[in-house]
């Protein structure tokens, strides 16, 4: 089962006393030919898991940075078929870094659940986080789970305990805690509030908790990692990549952005 790659990664992190670092990029942005190279660069810079965004025309949970990166990728015709081919290509060199596809349901629904499940798992995808599939509608994506793709769920500041229990009962791999009620790319991180919520989520079980939204640099990553098992960085990285104009500069920017955050996280843990 492929989600063992995610479980193993979190187990190894825990064993080593390290915090997970999860970069998010939109597949195909800034340039389709750069995506696989950027993924390798992120791993080289210390990524523990990669979230690969599947572009969608109507991303209601995303702010302008990720909206625009999706629009650019869509304009270049990027779709699931190509993204899965990139994952296969990545896997020829890297067989250990877990990959989670993150996006919205319609592209998968139109692709076909069974077809997507089979091809994604063959390509080496480990999990899916579908932003607009709450636990109530999770049966829609049952074929993905059956093919061994890990179903990752969001928990929000608004999530009630009743919902949290239902999510915990279904979640695999890790729980993605959204640090504030808002869209990606906003900056309203309240570290104390995040810590309280993360500790509350952790009380109920052993599943790791990653925190995303509002993490943009080494400082915010370190403060969130005080309570979280892993941190997710999306918009800030996507914005760096958007400012590049060719493959090599995109790859260099990805590495330059992530490496200092990795170093800061490791240093904070050692202290």
């Amino acid at each position: 089962m492929s989600h063992h790659r995610i479980d193993k990664r979190f187990a190894d992190l825990k064993h080593a006393g390290r915090k997970g670092l999860i970069p998010f990029i939109t597949a195909g942005d800034p340039l389709p030919e750069a995506t696989v190279h950027i993924m390798h660069a992120l791993v080289a810079a210390g990524a523990d898991l990669i979230e690969l965004g599947v572009p969608y025309s109507d991303p209601v949970a995303d702010g302008p940075t990720i909206q625009h990166s999706s629009e650019r990728a869509i304009a270049r015709g990027v779709g699931i078929k190509q993204i899965l081919a990139w994952v296969s290509e990545f896997r020829q060199i890297d067989s250990t870094t877990p990959i989670v596809l993150m996006g919205y349901l319609n592209p998968i629904e139109i692709y076909g659940y069974a077809r997507f499940a089979e091809q994604a798992s063959m390509a080496g995808v480990d999990g899916v986080l579908i932003v607009d599939v709450p636990v109530e509608e999770a049966e829609a994506v049952a074929p993905l789970r059956e093919m061994g793709l890990c179903e990752i769920f969001l928990v929000a500041p608004t999530t009630t305990d009743r919902r949290l229990a239902a999510i915990r009962a279904r979640a695999e791999g890790f729980i993605y805690y959204v640090s504030f009620a808002g869209i990606t790319g906003a900056s309203q991180l309240d570290t104390a509030a995040v810590r309280a919520r993360v500790e509350h989520i952790k009380q109920g079980g052993s599943i790791p908790v990653a925190v995303g939204f509002g993490v943009r640099d080494a400082t915010s990553a370190v403060s969130v990692a005080e309570s979280a098992d892993a941190v997710v960085i999306g918009s800030a990285l996507v914005a760096q990549l958007a400012a590049t104009s060719d493959r090599d500069s995109a790859v260099a920017a990805a590495h330059a952005f992530l490496a200092p955050i990795r170093a800061a996280l490791d240093q904070a843990v050692r202290r």
Binding site: V60, N106, E109, V131, D132, P134, A156, T158
Partner: protein, 408 residues
């Protein structure tokens, strides 16, 4: 996913189920942050709709503020000219603000007020729902923010100004295709960010549960009234109902009370734009496929990568790439059928109704009139066609003049 296999249904009024599903359509496909407020809204609304005081409040405003009931008018000269079945018009154009949209905005504003939410957001395409929302916010003293695509703001300047006169803030949306669907996206983003004090008044029977049910309930007054008026004025039910379908709120409003009257046929008129074969249309049910958009599963217009594509219609109010999930269910169950009406057919019907009956219909409603005319040609003289005249056409005179090369 079954597409054409009819679903046997014993009671159409039993839908949706507790999770908002109309068979395989509908549901709640939303980010987790909005799930608790949606649960809260569903619980609050379900309690209110059983509360006699709430119902009385709603009905009082429909009567004294909106001006209900709206009459059923026999378009006799039009019917005689066609020479076939009789066309009857349900005159939603005579409501305050000039369309059916106010039925729903009054209802939702009352829900918002009872829930203690004083900041109202809404999306709008043509501006009709925006005007109806701004109107009720003024009426109830609520703050009103309307999201509107930058392209639509350019196309509908008069409605933008009307909203401002009513005290609303109109926020231009520059993402995506800068039209109605993007205004909806932006309103959702506002809601996710300001969820504690904000109520989102959605303008049609789309969005996540409970919106398709709640908006339908508030517009169902149209069909309830019409059913009683038919029995009173004609001693029988109509043979066919017809209504235009954008998101589908005026159509479901008319259809709902008749759904279990199996002898009453129902036809929804979608915007076929330049013609379905050109790809420039907004006919989600006639030419789209099952998918997920704006929180529910329904028929959508999208490409093979699942990207929602741009739609086209002369009427901004029908220019939407999805449709309410209950219509998807009615289509698959065979209870209603949905057909496309082109821009040209709608325009011709607009002129025909203006000249024969002295009624300027909204371009949206003109699609329903065009379909009623088609049906009348096919059916015998003693048959009754009830057409929902969802709105008046004053807002569209500039569009029509421009289309016909006339400078005002």
């Amino acid at each position: 996913m079954s597409m054409n296999k009819p679903i046997p249904v014993s009671d159409f009024h039993a839908y949706p189920d507790a999770q908002g599903h109309f068979a395989e359509y509908g549901g709640i496909f939303m980010p987790e942050t909005l799930m608790p407020p949606l649960e809260e809204l569903t619980a609050a609304y379900l309690a209110m709709r059983e509360d006699p005081e709430f119902i009385a409040e709603f009905e009082r405003d429909l009567k004294y503020y909106v001006g209900r009931p709206s009459p059923i008018y026999h378009a006799e000269r039009l019917s005689n000219k066609i020479g076939g079945a009789q066309i009857l018009l349900k005159r939603e154009d005579l409501n305050h603000t000039g369309a059916h949209k106010i039925n729903n905005t009054i209802g939702q504003a009352l829900v918002a007020r009872r829930m203690g939410k004083r900041r109202i957001i809404a999306e709008t395409g043509a501006g009709q729902h925006g005007v109806a929302t701004a109107t009720v916010c003024a009426r109830f003293g609520l703050d009103c923010i309307v999201y509107m695509g930058a392209v639509d703001i350019e196309r509908q300047k008069i409605n933008v100004y009307r909203m401002k006169l009513l005290g609303a803030t109109v926020v231009p949306v520059v993402s995506g295709s800068k039209t109605l669907k993007d205004a909806l996206n932006e309103a959702m983003r506002d809601w996710v960010t300001n969820v504690a004090d904000t109520f989102y008044i959605i303008g049609t029977v789309a969005g996540p549960h409970p919106y398709p049910m709640m908006v339908r309930d508030f517009n169902a007054v149209v069909g309830r009234e019409a059913r009683a008026q038919m029995l009173e004025q004609y001693g029988r039910l109509p043979d066919v109902l017809t209504a235009c379908v954008g998101g589908g709120s005026n159509a479901i409003g008319l259809f709902h009370a008749f759904l279990n009257d199996r002898e009453v046929a129902m036809v929804g008129a979608e915007a076929a734009g330049d013609g379905i074969e050109t790809g420039r249309h907004a006919a989600s049910l006639s030419a789209g496929r099952p998918g997920v958009l704006h929180g529910n599963r329904t028929y959508v217009i999208c490409d093979d990568n699942g990207q929602i594509t741009e739609t086209h219609s002369i009427s901004a109010g029908l220019d939407y790439p999805g449709v309410g999930p209950e219509h998807a269910f009615l289509k698959d169950s065979g209870r209603a059928r949905y057909v496309g009406i082109t821009d040209d057919e709608a325009l011709a019907a607009f002129h025909e109704l203006a000249r024969t009956e002295g009624i300027l219909a909204a371009l949206e409603s003109s699609h329903a009139v065009a379909q009623a005319i088609k049906l009348a040609r096919e059916l015998p003289k003693d048959q009754l066609i009830l057409c929902n005249l969802s709105g008046r056409g004053d807002k569209d005179v500039h569009t029509i003049a421009a289309r016909e090369g006339i400078e005002l």
